[in-house]
């Protein structure tokens, strides 16, 4: 066969494969969007085509105080958890990277090994512990396991970042009269923007989407986070499929927006730990 023809044929095959995969991965999102503007009757008759006229009832059903409450709860838990994860992980990573102390290697290994621990192993102890201090059905209590389970990966990423900051910068700061805390807050943190944002995005996605701990710990409807809320909404609206599709779409909107605004950050954030490991 003519080599040029062969190459073109190969390219056509690659494009065709890409298009098929694009339909498989992307079409569900288009489907969510299209059908969120149909009512149940129209959905039953025709699920494929565009809505004959735009119906906003599903959005009305979703944008009610109860559902927005789940948003607020998730935002609260994620904000508190991410802030504390970044704070405590960057502190201990600084100690690992820049302060040599007895047992630092053992402690580092002990924390990194945490990446291998299945969350489910500690589900019952977490539940009994938080129940015993009356924090089991509370959003603050939920932050506890969220913080602890995101520490290993965050420490892993941040320690590497801090290690790469050259010693000369530190030494210059010491000569200028900077103490250890000053070095941490005025030098290490500002110079590690990329690492800190990676950890922020990663832990945000983790906590925003977390299910099993929330499912065990939270009972009160008013305290449910978004994943629990979507399940509850599904339970109430089983006969109204477009409304459920709308709830899924609206509930995922923050992450979808974040992805389109800062795609590289999200992709890096989700995969950095795995690649570097």
């Amino acid at each position: 066969m003519n080599p040029k023809l062969k190459r073109n044929g190969m390219k056509a095959l690659l494009y065709a494969t890409c298009l098929i995969i694009m339909v498989i991965t992307g079409f569900p999102f288009v489907f969510l969007l299209i059908n969120s503007f149909k009512n149940m009757q129209e959905y039953l008759v025709n699920i494929w085509s565009l809505p004959s006229k735009f119906f906003f009832g599903n959005y009305k059903a979703v944008f009610k105080p109860e559902f927005l409450r789940y948003f607020v709860n998730s935002a609260f838990v994620s904000a508190v958890s991410v802030f504390l994860i970044v704070a405590v992980s960057s502190m201990i990573s600084f100690a690992f990277a820049k302060m040599k102390f007895k047992g630092s290697n053992v402690l580092y290994f002990l924390i990194i090994a945490g990446m291998m621990i299945p969350v489910h192993t500690t589900l019952i102890p977490t539940f009994t512990l938080l129940s015993s201090i009356n924090l089991s059905d509370s959003l603050i209590g939920l932050c506890g396991p969220y913080i602890s389970y995101n520490i290993p990966i965050s420490v892993f990423i941040l320690t590497q970042f801090f290690k790469e900051i050259p010693r000369e910068i530190e030494e210059a700061a010491i000569i200028d009269g900077c103490d250890t805390i000053g070095i941490f807050t005025k030098i290490m943190l500002p110079l590690s923007g990329a690492g800190l944002s990676t950890v922020t995005v990663y832990t945000f996605l983790n906590t925003w989407n977390e299910f099993i701990n929330a499912n065990v710990l939270i009972n009160t409807t008013a305290k449910k986070t978004l994943p629990l809320g979507i399940r509850e909404f599904y339970g109430f609206q089983t006969v109204n499929i477009p409304a459920i599709l709308t709830a899924i779409l609206v509930g995922s909107l923050p992450v979808i927006l974040l992805y389109f605004l800062a795609q590289e950050k999200v992709v890096n954030g989700l995969t950095q730990g795995a690649v570097k490991g």
């Binding site: 390219k11 890409c18 995969i21 694009m22 498989i24 991965t25 569900p28 999102f29 489907f31 039953l44 494929w48 704070a87 992980s89 502190m91 201990i92 600084f94 302060m99 102390f101 402690l107 002990l110 924390i111 945490g114 291998m116 621990i117 299945p118 969350v119 489910h120 192993t121 500690t122 589900l123 019952i124 102890p125 977490t126 512990l129 506890g144 913080i147 602890s148 520490i151 420490v155 989407n209 299910f211 099993i212 065990v216 994943p227 629990l228 979507i230 399940r231 599904y234 499929i241 599709l245 899924i248 509930g251 995922s252 992450v255 979808i256 992805y259 989700l270 995969t271 795995a274 690649v275």
Partner: protein, 299 residues
């Protein structure tokens, strides 16, 4: 004298600083992770029905009971199917997609953007969306099957079909994730190597086998460990898609632990299942890392 005092002051100050920086993270990690594991093993030796506060020490009786529990073995079998699917379908699939978006065609950035989208939905959202897609009457797939006159049952989440149906959703969700990891690994392969090989007359397949694969081994190894542990501890989609009550066809170790602990309130027994999960995950990861690192040295 003065000097020694200053030095000792310095040391105390340094110790104080170390504690200041280390303590907060260690507090959370110690309370929930380290103490959590210790308490799981402690509970696992107890006869403890969760509603009453009474527990009594029964040694390894729970361990023996779980080892003789056919439901547990069945769950472990399903976990193993999940491991196999992740190793032999997800990983090759992800590698293929990574090669696709790494190939010299146009719009690869756009394709990558769309390919990655399944990772953006939470597992609960994914699960419920697919329950609706799998709906035997009104679902997307049922309509597709009817439109194309494919002679299969549309009861996708019933009986024996439930497991493969859920496994397909897991592939849908996770192949893009590993695609990105492999893509990052491919980007790190220096272009000069391919140029040199092509000058030596190597074709694409030879380049792939002799350059791409060997350089990708570390990435594959990390992903495989993540997949292995991830599949052994998996919970979310099975729980959500089976409406919170997986049956024998779809029970996993984690869902069985959840059922025993939080619906039947057999906390001691459930803790033993959790302890077994911990041991199994750890053992599998260690064995895997041990064998792959030896192979890596030979290559």
């Amino acid at each position: 004298m003065e000097k020694r005092k200053a030095a000792s002051n310095d040391r105390w100050k340094k110790t104080g600083l170390v504690i200041l920086f280390v303590f907060p993270a260690l507090f959370f990690y110690g309370t929930f992770n380290l103490l959590g594991i210790a308490r799981t093993f402690y509970y696992s030796t107890m006869n403890w029905k969760g509603i009453s506060a009474n527990k009594s020490f029964i040694g390894l009786a729970n361990y023996i009971a779980v080892a003789q529990d056919l439901n547990f073995w069945n769950a472990l079998k399903n976990n193993m199917i999940l491991v196999a699917v992740s190793m032999f379908i997800q990983m090759p699939g992800a590698l293929l997609l990574a090669l696709l978006i790494n190939s010299k065609i146009r719009f690869t950035k756009f394709f990558r953007t769309v390919f990655f989208m399944p990772m953006l939905l939470s597992t609960v959202a994914t699960g419920i969306m697919w329950i609706l897609f799998y709906d035997p009457n009104f679902g997307l797939l049922a309509k597709l099957v009817k439109a194309l006159h494919i002679p299969i049952s549309t009861a996708f989440l019933q009986g024996n079909t439930a497991l493969p149906s859920i496994l397909m959703v897991i592939c849908w969700q996770f192949i893009p994730y590993y695609m990105i990891i492999f893509k990052a690994g491919l980007t790190n392969v220096p272009e000069e190597l391919y140029e040199a090989a092509r000058i030596d007359g190597a074709n694409s397949w030879q380049c792939f086998i002799n350059i791409t694969m060997p350089l990708l081994i570390p990435t594959i190894r990390t992903s495989a460990v993540l997949q292995l542990v991830g599949s052994l501890k998996y919970f979310d989609l099975f729980y959500v898609m089976m409406g919170g009550a997986p049956n024998a066809n779809t029970e996993l170790m984690a869902t069985y632990m959840y059922k025993k602990g939080f619906t039947e309130f057999q906390m001691g027994y459930a803790s033993t299942i959790a302890a077994y999960m911990f041991i199994i995950c750890f053992a599998f990861a260690c064995i895997f890392l041990y064998f792959t690192s030896r192979k890596g040295e030979e290559a």
